[in-house]
């Protein structure tokens, strides 16, 4: 029979333990709040000093005290959207191949490849993109395009190699495995009974995918795209090494073959040398903007997914 004393002991132990867990969790919450607060506080010199012109200005000249972030913001958004746009069809192709057509024995090596691609450090994507891909892309892809349709401004020359388009391409490669592995997971969960229903009507594999599996996976694919987009928005090293770090795009030169600067590449390349309070503050305000864009994008996706889910359940 358990004595009252040991019951009390147990209760005390449980309370202490729960307290430890809660402390750890509160630490996480606290750190998140602290993150926001610190970013806001440290951006103050810029928020106050640069004002609204920070968001609309197109020139960045610390020497003259001019800080306009618009090209960087636009570049971040453009490269991310481009990267995801390139990545979605590839990721879908992989996912469809994996779930419907791949022979059983190839599945393990396939997922291994996809996971490894996702695990390669971004700085290595950067060094590969810079030293291996950039020269090739410049000669074999960019220059021919410029030669043929370069009169269209966004495809205009000269072809720099290191550019917005190269950054988007490398980013796309990095984002593919993220979207693909989540899509594979969601497609695999398509109920067999639904697929059998379609097959019993005489459907081909592709028709089953098109009419049953993909509609079923709609929301999951959206979530996968959200994750990919989030990754693209926040990516720093690979972009910094291949984007060129120049404010040319889009206002001085709208070509995708021109060098550009994203929020992350600007911070990465200039933070160490930023000396004055307003310079540092501007860079931190940039990071705050990035954080807001990223979290807002996530929240938007989540809202859409939840709303669609609830709509479906109500039926």
């Amino acid at each position: 029979m358990r004595s009252k004393k040991s019951s009390a002991n147990y209760n005390r132990q449980d309370t202490i333990f729960k307290g430890i867990l809660i402390s750890a969790s509160l630490l996480v919450v606290g750190l998140f709040v602290a993150l926001f607060l610190m970013l806001i506080r440290e951006s103050m010199p810029s928020i106050l000093g640069n004002g609204f012109a920070f968001l609309t200005g197109t020139t960045w000249d610390p020497g003259k005290g001019v800080y306009g972030a618009l090209p960087a913001i636009l570049t971040t958004i453009a490269t991310s959207l481009l990267a995801v746009a390139l990545a979605i069809p590839v990721a879908l192709g992989i996912a469809i191949f994996f779930t419907e057509y791949a022979p059983e024995r190839s599945k393990f090596p396939l997922t291994l490849f996809v996971d490894l691609l996702a695990a390669i450090p971004s700085v290595i994507f950067g060094i590969w993109g810079l030293w291996v891909i950039a020269p090739l892309i410049k000669t074999y892809v960019q220059q021919p395009i410029v030669a043929s349709i370069g009169f269209i401004p966004i495809f205009g020359g000269p072809a720099y190699g290191i550019s917005l388009s190269l950054a988007s391409l490398i980013l796309a490669i990095m984002v593919v495995p993220i979207i693909a592995s989540l899509t594979i997971e969601i497609l695999s969960r398509t109920p067999v009974s639904l697929k059998e229903g379609m097959i019993s009507l005489g459907a081909t594999k592709w028709e089953t995918v098109k009419h049953v599996s993909l509609p079923f996976a709609r929301l999951g694919i959206l979530a996968a795209v959200m994750l990919g987009l989030g990754r693209a928005l926040g990516e720093t090293m690979a972009i910094t090494m291949v984007i060129g770090n120049s404010y040319m795009w889009p206002f001085a030169n709208p070509s995708i073959f021109a060098p550009a600067t994203s929020i992350t590449s600007k911070i990465a390349s200039e933070f160490y040398e930023a000396t004055s309070a307003i310079y540092v503050g501007s860079l931190i305000e940039l990071s705050l903007i990035l954080l807001v864009i990223t979290l807002a994008t996530n929240a938007l996706f989540r809202y859409v997914i939840n709303k669609t889910n609830r709509g479906a359940k109500r039926q």
């Binding site: 059983e104 009974s193 059998e196 229903g197 379609m198 097959i199 009507l201 005489g202 459907a203 009419h211």
Partner: protein, 254 residues
């Protein structure tokens, strides 16, 4: 039995799951415009049997099939494409599986859309016609745009029957279609058998021996992968030839 009156001719059908043999040489002939009930204890190969008829058994990993199945005299394995077979042989599953991402009307004509059988107007008419045939029209005519999954279990199953029927199949296979339903829905579906019989040929698996007695013209009794007895339903129930059949039927009655 003249050849002209054989819809489905099954000759020495054998089937395996990996190295486990599920069907050990089944031979029987199904007559057109009849309802044939397949009865027998669990695991005796009934499901495997009908899944061979619409060539869905071959989707199971490690499957193997031997023997011949002739639909209207044509070998469904060697002389027909599997998708053609499934177009001509429809299936209704134990658990209703309407497509949740399609409306009720679209569910009915899902198969027809695949073969691009008709234009929008005709498809709408076909949806109405088949929903009427299964007795669902009155219940859903104002809700045709709603998801197929928004109906009750019994309605969903009738929807699946309408979906199969819309293909104008030569044969409809049914794998225990009422076992997951309540008695009222079951009764409604059993009533459908007369309608279905006029249009097509029905092969229905049922674990409910009384149901077999109620609705079928012919009954086949399977046991451990073998066809023990196949005869007129009344004859099987009144005077079964095999003691196994008798024991099974008796065990289920009263």
């Amino acid at each position: 039995m003249a050849n002209g009156s054989v819809k489905l001719d099954i000759q020495r059908l054998e089937a395996w799951f990996g190295d486990k043999q599920a069907l050990k040489g089944i031979s029987l002939r199904i007559k057109p415009k009849t309802v044939t009930a397949i009865i027998g204890p669990s695991g005796c190969g009934k499901s495997t049997f009908i899944r061979c008829i619409n060539r869905m058994h071959e989707l199971t990993p490690g499957n193997k099939v031997a023997g011949t199945i002739l639909l209207d005299g044509v070998d469904i394995y060697n002389d027909m494409d599997s998708m053609d077979v499934r177009r001509k042989v429809g299936m209704v599953f134990q658990k209703p599986n309407p497509f949740p991402n399609m409306s009720i009307a679209d569910n009915v004509v899902a198969g027809l859309k695949l073969i691009n059988a008709a234009g929008k107007k005709e498809l709408e008419e076909m949806a109405e016609e088949n929903l009427k045939a299964v007795g669902l029209w009155g219940e859903v005519e104002n809700d045709l745009k709603k998801s197929g999954a928004s109906l009750s279990g019994g309605q969903q199953q009738r929807l699946c029957i309408a979906r199969a029927l819309a293909m104008r199949p030569e044969i409809i296979l049914m794998d225990e279609p009422t076992s997951a339903l309540d008695p009222a829905s079951t009764a409604k579906i059993e009533e459908l058998m007369k309608t279905l019989k006029a249009e097509t040929t029905v092969i229905i698996i049922t674990h409910n021996v009384q149901q077999a007695a109620r609705i079928s013209d012919m009954t086949a009794f399977f046991y451990l992968g073998e066809l023990i007895e196949y005869d007129d339903t009344r004859r099987i129930f009144e005077s079964p030839k095999s003691p196994l059949t008798e024991r099974y039927i008796m065990g289920r009655f009263g």
